[in-house]
C-alpha cells in the first residue's frame, strides 16, 4: 500500500530474486499525484469548495465523492510511516501523551503525527475539514476519531454497521441505510451541495469497475507459478483503497491487470522456482515487508493470495446506490463471523491450490486477530494443509522478534520437505 516504497520494492525484488513489476512506475505516478493533491489541499480545497475528510478504510467514500469531498486515509498514512521506519518515534509521542501501548499502532502513530507533524513522513497529513468513521473494520476507530474530532474541532460522522453473526438481515440493512440517508443530509449541510444521485451512481459504477479489475488481477494468481506474491499485492493495493470510484484508479488497474495476464501467458512466476503456495491472513507486516517475506521467497514459497488485500475485491451488493452501499460496507469480512472467515480461507486454499497458510497474529488489530486460532484449527481440519501463526504487528516494529519468527518460519517450511 505505501507507494513511496515501490522503488525500494523493485530494487529489493532484483536482489531478492523475484520479479519486479513494470506497472510499479505507473503506480508511483498515480499515487504520487494523489499524495501531491492531498498534501496541497489547503491551496485548492477552499476555492473549489471541496472539503478534506479523514476516513477509515471501510468508509463509504463513493458517497463522499458524490459530494466532491476529497478523502485521506490515516490508516494508509500510518502504513507509510511504518514502511519509512517512523512508527516508533510517532508512537512514543502518543504514548507520552498518555495513549496505551496496547492501542492500535495505526491509531497511535496517526495521533503521534497529529501532535508532532515534524516527525511524520510527508510532513504528516493535511488538516481535515471533517471526519468519517465506519466501525465495520473495528471499534477502535470510534474512539480514535473522537480524539481527532476534539483535536481539530471538526464534525465527525459515524456509520455504525452491526456485526454479522450470519447473513445480513433486512433490519440491519435498513438500519445502515437510514444512517447513510442521514449522513447525506449532514454532508449537504457541510458541503453546501445537494446530493446528486446521478453522480453517486457514476461513483458506484466506477467503484464497481475498479473492484472487478482488482478481483480479476488477483484471480490470475490461481495460475502456477503465481504471477504475484504478497508484497506485490500489498503495494499494488494502494489505489483500490484511496482511489475507489476514480478514473485514475481504473486506468491504473487496467495496466496492472494486463501485465499480470501477460506473466501468466508467459508462465512467469513472482518468485523464482515456486514450489510452495501459501495464503496470507491479516494485515501486512509493513516495517518488515521485505525481510519477512524474503524468508519465504528464498525457499521458493509464494503467497499467492491473502485475505487482507482481498477485502477490497468484494463484489458490490445489488440495489439502488444507497442500498448497495449499505449492504456492501456492512458485509466486509472483518464485520463477519469466524465461520465466514474460515470458509473464506478454505475457499482461497482450494481455489488457489495452496499448500498451507500463514496467519499474522497482529497485536494491533484485535478484530482481525482475536479469532484466528479458532479459524486456524477449522481450516487445518477441513483442508488438511498446515497453518502457521506468527506474532507481530502491522506497524510497530517493537512487537517483532526476528529470531523467534525466523525459527517458526523455518520449522513451518521444513514440514513441506521430506525431512521427517
Amino acid at each position: 500500500m505505501p507507494d513511496a516504497q515501490s522503488t525500494k520494492h523493485n530494487e529489493h525484488a532484483k536482489k531478492r530474486n523475484y520479479r519486479p513489476l513494470v506497472s510499479t512506475k505507473a503506480l508511483q505516478k498515480t499515487m504520487g499525484r494523489y499524495y501531491a493533491i492531498t498534501n496541497y489541499h489547503r491551496y485548492w480545497g477552499k476555492p473549489l469548495r471541496r472539503p478534506l475528510a479523514w476516513v477509515t478504510s471501510g468508509a463509504p467514500v463513493e458517497l463522499l465523492r458524490a459530494f466532491k469531498i476529497h478523502s485521506a486515509y490515516p490508516e494508509q498514512y500510518a502504513a507509510i510511516y511504518s514502511a519509512r521506519q517512523a512508527t516508533v518515534s510517532l508512537c512514543e509521542v502518543a504514548e507520552t501523551a498518555g495513549y496505551s501501548q496496547d492501542l492500535c499502532s495505526y491509531a497511535r502513530s496517526n495521533i503521534g503525527g497529529v501532535l508532532r507533524p515534524d516527525l511524520a513522513p510527508l510532513g504528516g497529513m493535511p488538516k481535515p475539514d471533517l471526519l468519517v468513521a465506519c466501525n465495520n473494520i473495528c471499534g477502535t476507530v470510534l474512539k480514535w476519531y473522537e480524539v481527532l474530532a476534539r483535536h481539530f474541532n471538526v464534525p465527525l460522522l459515524v456509520l455504525d454497521t452491526p456485526f454479522l453473526t450470519g447473513e445480513l438481515t433486512p433490519q440491519a440493512k435498513e438500519y445502515v441505510l437510514e444512517q447513510l440517508n442521514a449522513m447525506a443530509v449532514d454532508l449537504e449541510k457541510i458541503t453546501g451541495r445537494k446530493l446528486n444521485q446521478q453522480s453517486l451512481a457514476e461513483q458506484m459504477r466506477r467503484s464497481a469497475e475498479i473492484t472487478s479489475l482488482w478481483k480479476e488481477t488477483r484471480q490470475y494468481c490461481q495460475a502456477s507459478p503465481s504471477p504475484l506474491n504478497a508484497p506485490d499485492l500489498f503495494i499494488h493495493m494502494a489505489p483500490i483503497v484511496v482511489l475507489r470510484g476514480s478514473q485514475e484508479g481504473i486506468n491504473y488497474y487496467r495496466k496492472l491487470e494486463a501485465e499480470v495476464k501477460e506473466r501468466v501467458k508467459l508462465g512467469q512466476g513472482a518468485v523464482n522456482n515456486e514450489r510452495i503456495r501459501l495464503v496470507w491472513d491479516n494485515i501486512a507486516i509493513w516495517p518488515q515487508l521485505f525481510s519477512f517475506y524474503k524468508l519465504f521467497a528464498e525457499k521458493g514459497a509464494c503467497f499467492v493470495t491473502d485475505t487482507y488485500s482481498g477485502g477490497w475485491a468484494a463484489d458490490h451488493a445489488p440495489g439502488t446506490p444507497m442500498e448497495s452501499l449499505a449492504a456492501t460496507y456492512t458485509e466486509v469480512f472483518l464485520n463477519r463471523s469466524p465461520e465466514y472467515r474460515a470458509n473464506q480461507l478454505i475457499n482461497q486454499i482450494r481455489d488457489y491450490k495452496a499448500h498451507g497458510f500463514v496467519m499474522h497474529s497482529n497485536r494491533s488489530c484485535k478484530p482481525y486477530s482475536l479469532v484466528q486460532e479458532v479459524i486456524r484449527r477449522k481450516v487445518m481440519r477441513e483442508t488438511g494443509v498446515p497453518g502457521l501463526m506468527i506474532e507481530a504487528d502491522m506497524a510497530d516494529p517493537r512487537a517483532y522478534a526476528e529470531e523467534p519468527v525466523r525459527n517458526r518460519v523455518q520449522a513451518f517450511l521444513e514440514t513441506f520437505d521430506d525431512l521427517t
Binding site: 486460532e373 484449527r377 487445518m380 498446515p386 497453518g387 501463526m389 506474532e391 522478534a401 529470531e403 523467534p404 525459527n407 517458526r408 523455518q410 520449522a411 521444513e414 514440514t415 525431512l419 521427517t420
Partner: protein, 260 residues
C-alpha cells in the same frame, strides 16, 4: 565400512552434541553450558567426542546443526529444532503424538503424525514464563540449585499460587512469599504448577493426543513432570537423556541426508 554422523544442538543455555553410527547407535553424547560462544563450545565437544571414540574428523560423513546457534556452526545443513525434536522423539518413542519440549528460553509443543512428520506446533513468544530460564530465576531467588527442585517439591503439602505470567513479577511474588514465611517446598511447588499451567494451555491449543513425550532440560525436573502430568491428565514419557533429543534428531537427519 562404518560411517558416523553428528548432530549439534546449540541452545540458549546448553550445547548438546550426539555422535551416531549408520546402525543408529549412539556412539557418544555430550552436553555443557553454552556460555558466550556456543559455536566454540560445540566445536570443543565435537572434538572431544571424536577423540574419546577414537575417530577423526574425516570419519564423520555429515553434520546437522540445530538450536538458536545453528547458523553459526559450520554444518552441512541447519535444521530447525522443531523438525529435529520431532525426528529424535519419533525415533525414541514411535508411539508419540505430542511432544512437549521445555528448554532454556523456549517452550514448545509439537504434534506428530504416526509417521513422525510434524503436523502442527506452538511456541512461547517473547516471554520467558514457562521455560527453563523461569525456573532458574525462581530457584536462584530461593537459593536452591535447580536440580534440587524436584526433590524439594515432593515434600510440599500446600502449593502456593504464583499468579503472574511474567518472570520478573513472579520473582517478586516468590520473594514476598519468602518474607511471609511460606515453606520453600510450597513456593517451589507453586512455581512448577505455574510452568505446567502455561505449557498445558499451549498443549491444549494444538490438541492433546497421547502418547505424550516430555523433553528438554526441564524434563529432568520431577516437580514440573508431576505438575504437568496432573494438569494434562495423562502420564508423560521422558527419555533417559531428555536434553539431547534434538541433537539426536539432528544426527539422525545427518544420516538420512547420506542414505545411499
Amino acid at each position: 565400512m562404518q560411517s558416523y554422523f553428528i548432530g549439534v544442538d546449540i541452545g540458549s543455555l546448553t550445547v548438546k552434541v550426539v555422535l551416531l553410527n549408520n546402525h543408529l547407535e549412539i556412539i557418544g553424547q555430550m552436553k555443557t553450558r553454552a556460555g558466550y560462544s556456543g559455536r566454540d563450545v560445540a566445536n570443543r565437544l565435537k572434538e572431544q567426542l571424536l577423540t574419546e571414540s577414537g575417530l577423526k574428523e574425516q570419519d564423520v560423513r555429515s553434520t546437522v546443526a540445530t538450536g538458536y546457534g545453528r547458523v553459526t556452526f559450520p554444518a552441512d545443513r541447519e535444521v530447525s529444532e522443531i523438525t529435529c525434536q520431532a525426528k529424535g522423539i519419533h525415533h525414541l518413542f514411535p508411539t508419540a503424538r505430542t511432544v512437549i519440549d521445555i528448554g532454556g528460553q523456549d517452550s514448545k509443543v509439537i504434534k506428530l503424525l504416526s509417521n513422525g512428520k510434524v503436523a502442527d506446533f506452538a511456541m512461547n513468544d517473547k516471554c520467558a514464563a514457562g521455560t527453563g530460564r523461569f525456573l532458574e530465576v525462581m530457584a536462584s531467588a530461593l537459593e536452591v540449585e535447580w536440580q534440587e527442585i524436584g526433590e524439594i517439591v515432593s515434600s510440599s503439602k500446600n502449593p502456593t499460587k504464583i499468579s503472574s505470567f511474567c518472570t520478573v513479577f513472579a520473582e517478586s511474588e516468590v520473594i514476598s512469599q519468602v518474607s511471609a514465611g511460606t515453606p520453600k517446598s510450597d513456593i517451589l511447588a507453586g512455581v512448577c504448577d505455574s510452568v505446567a499451567n502455561r505449557v498445558a494451555s499451549m498443549t491444549r491449543k494444538i490438541g492433546l493426543e497421547p502418547d505424550i513425550v516430555f523433553t528438554g532440560g526441564v524434563a529432568h525436573n520431577q516437580g514440573v513432570v508431576n505438575a504437568l502430568a496432573k494438569q494434562l491428565g495423562y502420564p508423560l514419557l521422558v527419555s533417559q537423556e531428555p536434553v539431547i533429543t534434538a541433537a539426536l534428531g539432528a544426527a539422525l537427519l545427518a544420516r538420512e541426508m547420506n542414505k545411499v
